[in-house]
């Protein structure tokens, strides 16, 4: 079978165009709202084969397929396609850039219709719930009453949980990967370091930098910190050890070690494709997210909903105890849940690494295919 998926256009959908706008969890309104999204495969006649794949913090709607136009490289190409775990021959796959993002959906870099200028920090604070409730508008627009699955890693996993919390009757399979019911102080702390790095850059200018130089140095440092937390000590040892760069001179503050050069490179490439204000808004949304009290689970449980919770052994940013806590909350309420900690070595990013994907793919493929 041809495992390649053809080129996929990024589409957009705009709503909340009336003066009322869309009411956010904070009480503020936002509108109009545009969502950038991509779809793969074909929606079947009774619209029962749709799976919503949700991206992580810095992801976008381009989950699979070759790059066309100004798309970023696909972030889960090995998972989505004909015959793959998220089989486009069987399922209709949807991926939507979240609001607050900078990849086609309305965010702080979008034009504020009231001023004709980019929102900057006038953009309202958004939450994971706001992201989900806006996604629901698009899913309704596509005529889908029930999603066969909601799947995502890291923030995508939080979105999957929020989906079932908001719309328990509209979801069948929930697959949070390397996710949590709430950020720990350690996770909030790393995000805060990133935010402070951005805001400490004088070019940030209280978020009103559009049209001029953007706070690239601050954003690059934020990404470097983030990137360290996505890897494991073992994977860094394997990839860099204490090897020196080719042009190291020694006794200077230039990048002597390969790991320094690598982080700088990752920081510099990130600033070309990501907006500093989006970094602030989305990390804040993740920090606010908290479903840990289980109050979102209806008194009668969640009949007809199944969970597959996946964690990675080497993930110290979203450690497996957080996934286990998630499953405990479900099993306490007698909700159908499967949990697996995959023995993968690449830390938090393991779910994005193709060489680690075999077990993750196998679990997801069979879990989705289970007959009722």
């Amino acid at each position: 079978m041809n495992k390649d998926i053809g080129p996929i256009e990024t589409k957009s959908f705009t709503f909340a165009e009336s003066s009322h706008g869309f009411k956010l969890e904070s009480g503020r309104t936002l509108g109009p709202i545009t969502l950038a999204y991509e779809t793969y495969g074909r929606l079947n006649e009774d619209k029962s084969n749709a799976i919503l794949v949700m991206h992580a913090f810095s992801g976008n709607a381009h989950v699979a397929g070759p790059v066309i136009g100004d798309q970023d490289p696909a972030w889960w190409d090995f998972m989505v396609g004909p015959g793959k775990a998220l089989d486009t021959a069987k399922y209709f796959i949807i991926c939507i850039n979240v609001i607050g993002g900078c990849k086609g959906s309305t965010g702080p870099s979008s034009i504020n219709p009231k001023t004709g200028k980019p929102y900057g920090t006038d953009f309202p604070i958004i939450t994971i719930e706001d992201m989900v409730r806006t996604q629901k508008v698009l899913i309704d627009h596509l005529g889908i009453k029930k999603l066969h699955g909601v799947v995502g890693g890291s923030m995508g996993g939080m979105l999957a949980l929020q989906w079932v919390a908001c719309y328990p009757d509209s979801v069948e399979c929930v697959i949070p990967i390397a996710a949590t019911l709430k950020h720990s102080p350690q996770q909030i702390a790393f995000n805060e370091v990133g935010r402070q790095a951005i805001m400490a850059d004088s070019l940030w200018s209280n978020g009103n930098y559009y049209g001029g130089d953007s706070p690239e140095k601050g954003l690059a440092v934020a990404r470097m910190v983030g990137h360290i937390t996505y890897m494991s000590n073992d994977s860094m040892e394997e990839k860099f050890s204490r090897r020196l760069t080719d042009d190291h001179t020694g006794f200077k503050f230039s990048a002597d070690f390969e790991v320094e050069g690598y982080l700088q490179y990752r920081g510099q490439t990130f600033v070309k494709r990501f907006d500093a204000n989006t970094y602030l808004y989305i990390t804040k949304a993740m920090d606010y997210f908290d479903l840990s009290d289980g109050q979102w689970i209806p008194a009668g449980g969640l009949p007809g909903v199944r969970f597959l919770v996946i964690a990675f052994k080497s993930d110290w940013l979203y450690p497996s105890v957080q996934s286990q806590e998630m499953v405990r909350q479900l099993q306490m309420r007698q909700i159908d849940a499967t949990y697996c900690e995959i023995d993968a070595g690449y830390g938090h990013d393991s779910f994005l690494i193709e060489s680690e994907a075999e077990k993750q793919s196998h679990l997801i493929k069979h879990f989705l295919a289970k007959r009722k």
Partner: protein, 197 residues
């Protein structure tokens, strides 16, 4: 096809478990027993398993499974939330046997326990005449590579139940051919008990 002892114990357990029961299998391995119970008995089946590959095999069979060891895998299950909790060929690998059984009896109305009988005559012969730790078909491991931490006989288990005040509702004794009716502590390779508080 000749049925192996494992299949025999699965059959026995399958006959014990009522149709549509809610079942938790502690140490469910690759899910063969749970799959059988789901298919034949329409059981609502869940497992707890530590081995990664075994979990994948369970998911492949459409089973719900929780990745954990059985010593720490129970506290979050509500009281009496299962009709049966099964400990088949897994009890002898538990570190905290008393806790595992009392937890199983808390979350399950009945507990099915299957284990190899250490006092089987073949084991006794190897012990008595050869002076060697037993290696028999139901206990096939060398002393240095066995996963078994506990070595118990049918009599040992009965006495344990008496001490703890657990009621034995049903008992089955098997060798490789089928049921053993005479002197089970001597002739049975495997025992299956159904107990309750």
């Amino acid at each position: 096809m000749k049925l192996t002892i494992e299949r025999l114990d699965h059959q026995v357990i399958c006959e014990i478990v009522g149709t549509g029961s809610k079942v938790l299998d502690l140490g469910c391995g690759n899910g063969d027993l749970l799959h059988l119970l789901a298919e034949r008995r329409g059981a609502k089946a869940q497992g707890v398993e530590l081995n990664n590959d075994a979990i994948h095999a369970c998911v492949e069979k459409g089973l719900s499974v929780f990745h954990s060891d059985i010593d720490s895998g129970l506290p979050h299950y509500p009281d009496q939330s299962f009709d049966y909790v099964i400990l088949n060929q897994s009890l002898q690998e538990a570190k905290k046997v008393e806790t595992v059984i009392s937890e199983a009896l808390r979350v399950g109305k009945k507990v099915i326990i299957g284990f190899p009988n250490f006092a089987h005559f073949e084991a006794r012969i190897r012990m008595f005449f050869c002076g060697r730790a037993p290696i028999v078909s139901s206990l096939p491991y060398e002393w240095y590579s066995t996963p078994n931490l506990r070595f118990l006989s049918i009599k040992d288990f009965k006495s344990f139940c008496a001490i703890k005040g657990y009621k034995i509702l049903v008992s089955h004794f098997l060798d490789s051919q089928g049921p053993v009716r005479v002197l089970p502590n001597l002739f049975a390779q495997n025992a299956i008990f159904v107990i309750t508080k």
